[in-house]
């Protein structure tokens, strides 16, 4: 095969570009094939094959926190779903709490008050620089299950009961009027937001109008007042916890010690990282922006809201996404403190069935899905706060 161009192919950079890619593909395929072949070979030697049929078998073990109905006679698949729901509970509760606390600490790190600044620095450095597993052990074995027994529970106003078997807090329970109130609140919020935006724009553009917050509150109050007039009842009834027979709690929301310790550990740990991200984001806005905003006569809150935060968010959101993903993945440490998350249920499943490979594949797929979903949502949000070029 003679070269028409006179350049031999091994001197042709285009050949090497393609050949490099082909070599990479061959390498990846070979390694994957070897690993897969090895797995198959080992499983065959043990007389096992890969298969997920076991998920239909009866699980025959109990799980202690059941967001969805489950009995031991249900399948392993159902048990897995219970674990997944428990993981979702902790992640959904953890992300907003960690964000709120993180923003608070992050802003405190920038405070002009010396004490507040030093305390938040201490918080961040201690929680960020110790392993999460140790912190979970501390919160669980050192704090939560050292609380008094139910018989000699601590009672805080509310009532909030603290004991080493459960933490019971008041929880709103729906009534017949709840639906109407929710609709009114939703409409009121939309209306209040619209009013607030309009008044703010008026204020910024023409220097007139003013009091956007007050106007928005008034709108919302109007909507809720309407709901009150319509239903003549409160939006929900407080379901208060009480002590039954002196040995257990009834009513309210009862958090297990494991849930409470895990939530506490994850929120406090993740908040330390989020605080630094928030601080970094705010500091990334150049000083000139602050000065310019003040120079046009904006009040401090408006400086933050209109000038600093929109720019800081661009820096904050991408690393914040990573922290959310970390929180979701770190929730798998639940297994150490007896919270029945998806890993805990998976461990029991493979202990009983011997299907270690399948269970690990399932767990990996689960966390991958959770992470990809979180990323997707955060990326959409990120796009909305990015600079729109005109």
């Amino acid at each position: 095969m003679k070269q028409t161009g006179g350049t031999p192919f091994w001197r042709d950079v285009r050949f090497w570009r393609v050949a490099g890619q082909v070599a990479a593909v061959v390498l990846v395929v070979l390694v994957a094939a070897y690993l897969y072949g090895n797995l198959q070979h080992n499983l065959q030697q043990k007389g096992l094959g890969l298969g997920f049929g076991f998920l239909r078998l009866a699980a025959s073990f109990d799980i202690k926190e059941l967001p969805i109905p489950y009995r031991p006679s249900d399948s392993y698949g159902r048990a897995f779903l219970v674990g997944l729901t428990n993981t979702a509970r902790i992640v959904l509760a953890g992300i907003p709490l960690a964000t709120l606390l993180g923003i608070l600490i992050g802003v405190a790190r920038l405070s002009s008050n010396w004490l507040v600044r030093q305390l938040s620095l201490l918080y961040v450095e201690v929680l960020r620089n110790t392993p999460l597993l140790l912190q979970l052990f501390f919160w669980y074995f050192g704090v939560i299950i050292r609380l008094p027994r139910i018989q000699s529970r601590l009672e805080l106003p509310g009532p909030v009961y603290l004991s080493n078997r459960a933490v019971a807090v008041p929880w709103p329970a729906s009534t017949e009027a709840t639906g109407a109130w929710l609709v009114a609140a939703a409409l009121g919020l939309v209306a209040a937001f619209t009013v607030w935006r309009r008044r703010t724009r008026l204020m910024v553009e023409r220097g007139g109008g003013g009091q956007p917050g007050l106007a928005a509150l008034a709108t919302l109050g109007l909507a809720l007042g309407g709901a009150w007039a319509l239903t003549g009842a409160a939006p929900f009834a407080w379901n208060l916890p009480r002590v039954a027979d002196g040995i257990r709690f009834e009513g309210g929301a009862r958090l297990s010690p494991e849930f409470a310790a895990l939530l506490m550990g994850l929120v406090l740990y993740t908040a330390a990282f989020i605080a630094e991200i928030v601080r970094g984001g705010v500091l990334a806005v150049s000083r000139g922006q602050w000065e310019a905003a003040r120079a046009v006569g904006l009040r401090p809150f408006l400086v933050l809201r209109l000038v600093v935060f929109p720019q800081a968010l661009r820096v904050i959101v991408p690393p914040l996404t990573s922290q959310y993903l970390n929180l979701a993945k770190n929730s798998s440490l639940a297994v150490a403190i007896a919270y029945p998350d998806v890993v805990s249920v998976g461990t029991t499943t493979y202990n009983q069935t011997g299907r270690a490979v399948e269970v690990v594949i399932l767990l990996m797929a689960t966390y991958l899905s959770i992470s990809l979903f979180t990323s997707l949502v955060m990326n959409v949000y990120n796009r909305s706060v990015q600079l729109v070029e005109r």
């Binding site: 192919f9 094939a33 070897y34 025959s60 078997r165």
Partner: protein
């Protein structure tokens, strides 16, 4: 027409062929850990028995737990104590007339069978339950049971709980394990009791949580509950319920396919049981050796050739009894009334006294 455009499909083709080869030619793992269990059922009856290897080596390598007081536990001075450890010593005494010719290896639950299969240990005496799957597909051969255990439940004395039925609405600490959760769930389902299992992944966390009163009860093998109770802050405040939720016959194991070695381990264990039944102990072994009772003469090797038939010396029983003692002595030394465990013989008593300890005749 560029040369490399023709070459590309060729490269891809080579890749596919190579990949296919890779898949077929994946070499069998030689680590032993994975391969061992399946290889054993078809393992050839090799000319060289493990017995010859041990005798040539001059000491026995015994796989134990090492962390379970009363069964096998490393004392502060480095000595191993416990029922399992003493049976290792009994085998060494029979082989070498020296109970200290043992090298102990601590094994985790996950390592133990692989360690037997690849020959890392000669015999496994590690509170291991004899089950059909371990006897067959895992490729073990189980010698007689040295301790009849079962899953039990420990509660606080002042809790008022006396039966599993009392667990309605109560919580149970449990370590995730082979079938502990399953046995518990089965029993509670049968009794129709709604309870709360609090599942930990480590043994220390489980008992730590129970000690902190996170749970009303803790479940595990009864032997483990006994052992763990001695290290709880106030051992006397805890009681182990009578209920037994599963059968856990703890049994020594050797690799399948080596009948000579299996026979040695089996009959060493039986010898301790037979000795107790015949009333032969380390205290009276001197007198017994002078006994005129033909049964005892045969048992201790002064008549017949029971020992040489096993590939041992004729006096192997006398060696075991002199150095380690009979089954009752071993039991009392490690678990009996003078130990912190104060464990009744229960099912581990001689069959003549209503227990399950029974040796086939020595004749």
């Amino acid at each position: 027409m560029r040369g490399w455009k023709v070459l590309l499909p060729l490269l891809v083709l080579t890749a596919i062929v190579l990949a296919a080869c890779g898949q077929q030619a994946a070499p069998p793992p030689q680590t032993g850990q994975e391969a061992a269990p399946a290889a054993s059922p078809t393992a050839p009856q090799t000319a060289q028995s493990r017995l010859d290897i041990v005798l040539a080596r001059g000491r026995l390598i015994c796989g134990v737990n090492g962390g379970l007081p009363g069964f096998s536990y490393v004392e502060p001075d480095g000595r191993y104590s416990g029922l399992d450890a003493d049976f290792c010593r009994a085998i060494a005494a029979a082989l070498f007339d020296d109970p200290n010719a043992v090298e102990f290896r601590n094994l985790t639950a996950a390592e133990r069978f692989a360690a037997v299969q690849n020959g890392e240990v000669d015999v496994l005496i590690r509170n291991t339950t004899w089950t059909v799957s371990r006897d067959t597909s895992v490729g073990m051969e189980f010698a007689p049971t040295i301790f009849y255990d079962g899953q039990g439940m420990m509660v606080r004395k002042d809790s008022g709980i006396t039966r599993l039925e009392d667990f309605q609405g109560k919580s149970v600490c449990v370590q995730t394990g082979t079938t502990t959760e399953l046995n518990l769930a089965d029993w509670m389902r049968r009794l129709n009791v709604a309870y709360e299992p609090v599942v930990y992944d480590s043994i220390d966390a489980t008992y730590e949580a129970y000690a902190a009163e996170r749970c009303d009860g803790v479940t595990s093998d009864r032997s483990q509950l006994m052992a763990r109770r001695t290290v709880l802050p106030n051992p006397d405040e805890h009681v182990i319920l009578d209920v037994v939720m599963s059968k856990e016959p703890l049994t020594p194991a050797v690799a399948q396919g080596d009948a000579r070695w299996f026979d040695v381990v089996k009959w060493v264990v039986f010898a301790t049981m037979e000795a107790e039944e015949l009333g032969v102990s380390s205290r009276n072994i001197g007198q017994m050796l002078a006994s005129d009772d033909p049964q005892i003469k045969r048992f201790l090797g002064r008549e017949g050739d029971l020992g040489t038939g096993l590939g041992l010396t004729n006096d192997f029983v006398a060696r075991i009894i002199r150095h380690v003692g009979n089954y009752g002595e071993i039991y009392d030394r490690n678990l009996g009334p003078d130990t912190p465990f104060k464990l009744d013989r229960g099912p581990n008593d001689l069959w003549t006294r209503g227990g399950l300890i029974y040796s086939p005749p020595f004749r």
